[in-house]
């Protein structure tokens, strides 16, 4: 047993020495799965710095940050999570809105559903029993799930659809279920539907934006973030990054707040 303890200590010391100062780790809402990869690539090209990304539902990432996960930057699909972290003293400042997301109906090729953003076909499909499984992100902790629920409630379909819902851990998994998991369709992020690997699997139609609360997305530097993370924080608010976000179907805020000039150093 003593030998075991000794080895444990040795292993820890060894890791501690080896693990110093790697690239910063960025926690990001799953709707950025594809868009952020492009932004990171552009950042790497411009600065030579590497950034590591972790994707999940904003609610999950929020909890992990509260529990001390070693992230330096947080992209939340719902700015409320950033506000709560800021109140808890875990952020450098209040952060900045970087994009406004949209949701829509995704139907895989060969589905019994039509890609109808006003959900009239979904209503008829429910009447005719054409829907057995429908995917959305988990509305308990995924902002896109919450907005999907609001849209379905607005259309008066929530209660009828509820028994047929399958919940993804995050909007990316919901998209995965909708595209390949045997569901007839799902409500997913526009930014995912625009990505070639998803777009190839089905068709997509935007849901009217006034059917749900806006998906205002906020990025914030977390306490203890290093220089590379700070540079990336400025970069994601610059013109290049905003062009990428727009290409993935996000609206970007205008104008930028003073003191957060595009381009960065």
């Amino acid at each position: 047993m003593r030998a075991g303890t000794l080895l444990l200590l040795l292993a820890l010391v060894f890791r501690g020495v080896g693990a110093a100062a790697g690239p910063p780790i960025v926690a990001a809402a799953s709707d950025l799965q594809f868009a952020l990869a492009d932004v990171v690539a552009a950042f790497r090209e411009q600065t030579g710095h590497e950034v590591k990304t972790v994707f999940g539902s904003s609610g999950h990432l929020f909890r992990q940050i509260e529990q001390g996960a070693p992230f330096e930057l947080f992209f939340s699909a719902d700015e409320d999570y950033v506000r709560r972290l800021a109140q808890g003293g875990r952020t450098v400042d209040a952060g900045a809105v970087y994009a406004i997301g949209r949701i829509g109906l995704f139907v895989p090729h060969g589905s019994t559903l039509k890609a109808d953003g006003r959900l009239d076909d979904l209503r008829r499909a429910l009447d005719e029993g054409r829907v057995t499984k429908f995917a959305i992100a988990n509305p308990d902790h995924a902002p896109y799930g919450i907005r999907a629920r609001e849209a379905l409630q607005h259309a008066g379909l929530w209660r009828r659809l509820e028994p047929r819902l399958v919940f993804g851990e995050n909007v990316s998994q919901a998209a995965q279920f909708a595209a390949t998991g045997g569901a007839q369709g799902g409500i997913i992020a526009y930014s995912l539907a625009k990505a070639p690997p998803v777009a190839a699997l089905g068709r997509f139609a935007l849901i009217p934006e006034d059917w749900h609360q806006p998906l205002r997305q906020r990025v914030v530097l977390l306490r203890g973030a290093g220089d590379v993370a700070a540079a990336f924080y400025r970069f994601v608010q610059g013109a290049n990054a905003r062009a990428v976000f727009r290409a993935f179907g996000f609206e970007t805020p205008e104008p930028l707040r003073p003191g957060r000039a595009p381009g960065g150093r």
Binding site: M1, A3, G4, L7, L8, A11, L12, R15, G16, A19, G22, I25, S30, Q33, K52, T53, V54, F55, G56, Q64, Q67, G68, A69, P70, E169, N170, S172, Q173, A175, Q176, A179, A195, P197, V198
Partner: protein, 223 residues
């Protein structure tokens, strides 16, 4: 293909074996030969991770190592890092969920060592340490090897506990099993397929090796 994740898994498996194998030899040997009150309870506790749902184990580990726990606070005060979401925390978790894989094969192996052999060695004046090194461990070796192989394969494959305690942090807690889950969500079926195939062959190899040593073990005893 996420090579850093594979490397991290190998590192975790190696560290787990390094920590748990000596402890497993000590525990397995004690359980094989000693009788004491409450032995059945101790054996049950050590076997518990085998049947406990990974989420239950993960939940308790998260509570035990989290920022609100004594252990979590002490570790943060010492190192400035948190135990959850770190390699070290993952190692603690990995040691806990591997206990039955370490203890049981080793215990069976020591149980199979004939008491007469030990008694003869002691009568001949062999010291206990020499007895352990020269007689007992060589005789129990196939069981020890089998324990190491099982721990290795199980560490590479564990998912639920790792996800709950470690999150999904590249280079720190994103093991290959987590990376597969991550790649599937990212619509990266190719990478998920390659990594799954690697785990399939590693697991098959480990089980085969474990069976081979078991049959060789039987042969040794007969000879």
């Amino acid at each position: 293909m996420d090579w850093p994740a594979l490397l991290l898994s190998l590192e975790l498996a190696g560290a787990t074996i390094a920590v748990l194998l000596p402890a497993g030899i000590w525990l397995g040997r004690a359980l094989a030969w000693r009788q004491f009150r409450g032995k059945a309870l101790v054996e049950s506790l050590l076997a518990l991770p085998l049947i406990l749902p990974p989420t239950v184990l993960g939940f308790y580990l998260l509570v035990a190592m989290g920022g609100a726990s004594g252990l979590g606070r002490a570790y943060s005060a010492m190192t400035g890092r948190t135990l959850t979401f770190s390699f070290e925390g993952l190692l603690v978790a990995s040691v806990v969920f591997n206990v039955p894989f370490a203890v049981q094969p080793i215990q069976r192996a020591f149980e199979a060592v004939a008491p007469e052999v030990r008694e003869a060695a002691l009568v001949c004046g062999m010291s206990r340490w020499r007895l352990l090194r020269r007689i007992e461990i060589p005789l129990a070796w196939p069981g020890i090897l089998s324990a190491a192989v099982l721990m290795f394969a199980h560490t590479l494959g564990e998912f639920g506990v790792v996800l709950m305690v470690g999150g999904n942090i590249p280079g720190e807690t994103r093991t290959i099993a987590i990376a597969i889950y991550d790649r599937v969500q990212a619509f990266d079926t190719g990478a998920a397929g390659v990594m799954s195939a690697i785990l399939l062959f590693v697991s098959l190899g480990a089980i085969t090796l474990s069976y081979l040593t078991a049959s060789r073990f039987g042969g040794l005893r007969r000879g």
